[in-house]
């Protein structure tokens, strides 16, 4: 579209002018006006019809196709609504840069989703992890290698621990293996681990030096339907997590967890009246 007119109409208008001039120049004096009017009118009609047939209707058909793409697909309907409302022309190149980044991240999400994988970023993790533990019906197997400060000290970290205890109460088997750099690190959270054992969680621990490199990470397996791997920063802070829903990926994570468990020691329940 160029303003309110289509390209076909603009080209048509130029052709009509030529046609009228041609009719004026080639007609007898008595028929000049009539022929020019006739040529002009038929030219306009033809132009409008061509524009409708070869420009307007095809573009409208495509718009309608996109609009109907999500019929019966809730995600696509929601996405269509969002994409159509997202700004088209933004006022600043940096805002445009962010808009493109947002659309790219969504694109990446769906690329992963096709493979049964999805990322949960740092900001989304608190809500997600709690929902994940609540969703468990049979088993939770996990290894933890996060920095204590970024896990236990966070308000949501405490809620997460409580959710694990709640899972035990609904007869979900919870096995957690904690990985430490050294004995001092283990001792710093030993009381908290003791509380978990008392709550019925099977707690194991291992040291980094005893494990293969790809096992030193945060891994989780929920029932048979979901597995995840925590991505940590070099300082062992939580960066993001990747989750898998395909059986082959879940099996892979489960195997890695089992290898860590095999190399780990079982934390015994603390004796009553004694701080573990």
């Amino acid at each position: 579209m160029v303003g309110p007119f289509t390209v076909v109409e603009i080209v048509g208008a130029l052709a009509i002018v030529c046609l009228i001039l041609f009719a004026i120049l080639r007609s007898d004096a008595s028929e000049r006006r009539g022929n020019a009017v006739f040529a002009g009118l038929t030219g306009v009609i033809l132009t409008i019809l061509l524009s409708i047939r070869f420009y307007l209707l095809p573009t409208m058909e495509e718009d309608l196709r996109l609009q109907n793409l999500g019929r019966g697909n809730a995600d696509a309907i929601q996405l269509f609504d969002m994409l159509s409302r997202a700004p088209v022309r933004v006022k600043h190149p940096l805002m445009d840069y962010i808009l493109r980044m947002r659309l790219s991240s969504l694109d990446e999400y769906y690329d992963r989703a096709i493979q049964g994988r999805f990322m949960v970023d740092q900001g989304e993790l608190p809500i997600f992890l709690l929902a994940m533990i609540r969703s468990a019906t049979k088993s939770i197997a996990a290894t933890s290698y996060a920095q204590p400060a970024s896990w236990w000290d966070q308000p949501w970290g405490k809620v997460y621990e409580r959710e694990n205890e709640e899972a035990v109460k609904r007869h979900v088997s919870v096995v957690r293996t904690f990985i430490f750099a050294n004995e001092a690190e283990l001792n710093s959270i030993r009381p908290l681990l003791g509380q978990e054992v008392t709550a019925g969680i099977a707690v194991r621990y291992a040291f980094v030096t005893n494990l293969h490199g790809n096992l030193v990470n945060g891994l989780v397996c929920i029932d048979d339907g979901l597995a995840g791997e925590l991505h940590l920063t070099p300082e062992k802070g939580i960066k993001e997590a990747e989750f898998f829903t395909r059986p082959i990926d879940i099996g892979n994570i489960r195997q890695r967890i089992e290898r860590v468990q095999a190399d780990a020691l079982i934390l015994e329940a603390p004796a009553k009246g004694r701080v573990p």
């Binding site: 409208m60 718009d63 996109l66 269509f80 700004p87 600043h92 805002m95 840069y97 962010i98 999805f118």
Partner: protein, 273 residues
């Protein structure tokens, strides 16, 4: 689709009148033997013309208006590809894990909020995006950068990205962008923490100023203004240990943040070492 077709469009009403007039004129001005033929031709052409213009300029625009959301997506290849991908994902992937759906829902809601904010000229840059975005922001500045830098919350200058940011600032100063950076300290004893960086920047042609927090009106985070057309405010997200920056090209926000920067600069001192 919501359409509002009237029984007769304005084009058609005018067209009928014009066609009738043309037919009468054709009848009256034609030779006796051509009266009938000319009137018929004028009428037929008039009717076709009337219907064509009515469809083109009244009915189709109404139809197009109803399809505007689809048009927005069609005109942006990225959006149309994305939508088509989503339509395919669900068809190929049923059932999807409910937690996966939850993440998508959270993400779409967050994006919707961000797109709505963009419509108001505002956008959020989250912590992970900040290093790259900050570099881009300094690189695209043409005339002026005015910013505060609260020492205490941020360890920005000590990080690898901070060093690159400092170089980008120096490059901006070299291409004659006027940079004013006001370092803010919660207490006088903290000034030495940033003394080296302040001196280094001052030597590179950046107007370095400093102030104590108590000398200023309450600030919620660092503020930046680029060329007087983009402003941003850095803030900490309560309870999540994360930070983000809210940028804006909205005239009201620009005016407010420029006023904040004016006040900060008025109540601060030059750093000359």
């Amino acid at each position: 689709l919501i359409l509002d077709f009237t029984p007769l469009t304005l084009y058609e009403i005018i067209g009928i009148i014009v066609t009738a007039s043309t037919a009468i004129v054709a009848y009256l001005t034609s030779r006796e033997d051509a009266k009938g033929r000319n009137t018929a031709i004028a009428s037929v052409i008039g009717v076709i013309f009337t219907i064509a213009t009515g469809i083109r300029f009244d009915m189709l625009p109404k139809l197009q208006a109803s399809l505007e959301p689809g048009e927005t997506i069609r005109n942006d290849r990225r959006r149309s590809d994305l939508l088509q991908k989503v339509a395919r994902v669900n068809a190929a992937q049923a059932p999807i894990n409910p937690l996966m759906t939850m993440v998508l829902k959270i993400r779409l809601e967050s994006l919707q909020e961000q797109f709505d904010a963009m419509a108001q000229g505002r956008f959020i840059v989250d912590e992970a995006e900040m290093p790259v975005f900050n570099m881009e922001m300094i690189r695209t500045a043409k005339r002026e950068i005015r910013t505060t830098n609260f020492i205490g919350i941020s360890r920005w200058w000590e990080q690898p990205w901070g060093e690159r940011y400092e170089l980008a600032n120096e490059a901006a100063a070299e291409r004659k962008v006027r940079i004013t950076r006001t370092f803010i300290f919660s207490k006088a004893e903290d000034v030495p923490i940033a003394a080296a960086i302040m001196t280094r920047q001052a030597k590179k042609g950046i107007a370095v100023r400093y102030a104590l927090l108590r000398e200023l009106q309450p600030l919620t985070g660092d503020v930046i203004a680029i060329d007087g057309v983009l402003v941003g405010e850095h803030r900490i997200i309560p309870g999540r240990g994360l930070s983000e920056a809210l940028f804006s090209v909205n005239a009201g926000d620009i005016e407010r943040d420029i006023r904040i920067l004016d006040a900060v600069e008025t109540n601060s001192r030059d750093w000359i070492k």
